[in-house]
Amino acid sequence: MSVELIGYGCFFLTMALTYAIMCLGLNVQWGQTGLFNVGIAGFVAIGAYVSALLTTPDTANRFGGFDMPILVGWLGGALAAAAIAFLIGALTIRLRSDYLAIATFGVAVTVQLCALNLERITGGPFGIGFIPRPFASLAGDPLLFSLFNLGVLIVVITLLYLALERLVRSPWGRVLRAIREDETAALALGKSAVKFRLQAFAIGGGIMGLAGAVQAHFIGFIAPENYLPMLTFQVWAMLIVGGSGNNRGAILGAVLVWGLWAASAGAVAGLFPPGQQARAASLQIVMIGVALCAILLLRPRGILGEEKVVSRHLGKLSSALRNDAKPATPKQ
């Protein structure tokens, strides 16, 4: 096998895994908690920009460049995105479920606008370049370099996966699912249900920020156009294909959809004349959009579906709650 092919394979997988991180973040919000986020691109962008600001060398004409270690950047990016998610969640989680969707959509629009217009901080439309890459010293050997980068992503994903699995099976995760599955349980928990949802939303947002940061350091360059609503859409498609509520599904979905996306982009590039490329690219989006709607209609639980992890004890608890709350109606 040629070195180029392995190199491309590594590149592809590394990229797919950065999306898998976003997907895991979304899974905490949507899959585990049922909170709808239409502003994924915004949270990813916050993580990417914050990390880039923290780690790039001092730059003329631009605020910062603090030249900090990459890990500090990642942490900073995740924390910043989590903080914004917390604020937006605090504003909307107690309201109707789609207000959160509208508000997160607003976050994405506004973050995009800030990235474009706050030139002194974000570099405006040209973005930020020279973002330090892990193992930069190995850049001389492309194969080794891409293998190491892939390694970093695998480590990040594994750690995140293990942590999230623990979280899902912890009492915290079980309460979260009970709230999602059962309105009565949520009502019985009252204020603390809002608190649990808010925590989940902030954690999910933080993971998306982390994804943005990791991706920025892998590509080495960011610009506002990387964070268009299309990104939000892709991540949703990934999670839905993989099956919401399932962490392995989230990772699998990311790799699968990213593969389809890359393949269809290649097909478009090959099949359409150069003048028609932009047009063809929109057709690609149409196909993904139709596919998403079709999955929602035909297989709303995704390809892998959801794992049942709610304990039997909790199941009983929630049915007991139901009987207490409304003894008169036979249905509930």
Binding site: G34, F36, V38, L91, T92, L95, R96, S97, D98, Y99, A101, I102, A103, F105, G106, V107, V109, T110, L113, C114, L116, N117, P229, M230, F233, W236, I240, A278, R279, A280, S282, L283, I285, V286, I288, G289, V290, L292, C293, L296, L297, P300
Partner: protein, 303 residues
Amino acid sequence: MNPQALMDGLITGSMIGLGAIGVTLTYSILRFANFAHGEFISWGAYFALAVSSALGYLSGGLLTPIGPFSFGWSLPISAVVAVALTGGLALLVDALLFGRLRAQRGTVIIMVMASFGAALTLRSLLEFIFTSKPAYYSKALQIALPLGGGLRATPDQMLSLALAVVLVVAVHLLLTRTAIGRSMRAVSENQQLSGVVGIDVRKVVRTVWVLGAGLACVAGVMAGLLVQIRPYMGFDLLLPLFAAAILGGIGSVPGAMLAGLIVGLAEALAVQFVGAEWRAAVAFVILVLVLLVRPQGLFGRPE
């Protein structure tokens, strides 16, 4: 405040208001935030463009400007056709997607997500058919006439404002004075009880789609006439539409229109004081303020 900014604000505001009426109606009757509503604005504008080009091709006389306006008879005719086509498009999307999800008893959030998918599909389809190059109904230039008090407006702008006022009054009367309007209010309050008293909920749902999409189409034709036609025109209005629908109070038609004007004027003000590049953030700021201070909106009932 600069009188010209006032005029700009009123014009943008009336387009937002017309769109927000559709958002607020779908929201209160179908009970979900429809992210695809902005696409009805874009599709409406492009439908009118296609029909009016076809009419102009058949008879050049239809392109001759009427009186002081920049457009010929081809535009009003095609606008009427476009309203019907956009209504049809909304019914088609409902039949293919939302209606089926309702039948499966999909949750609110599944509907929102589906509308998000539909939005992307519809927008990209427009981009595929018409490319992202801006288009115009008319190449004629218009001179703004002084209206007194330093206010100036082109005949097109004044016509659009008048049309918006007429439409809002008409929709308000439809909702409050007619049987179908009463049925719509009934379904928005209690769908099951509406069935019990003999209202055909499916018919009401169809009416809401056609009405909302028709108004969106008018907003799109206005935006196309006064600004330009782009596949992203509806998407760019989406956040202002939501902000206006929530500010006005979900379900309130006068509220949506008034809030649309408020959002439009706030945008015009922001353009004056902060710069045009921040225009799109105004709706977000308004949205956050409403959710903080009065989540039920100006004319809404607290839940």
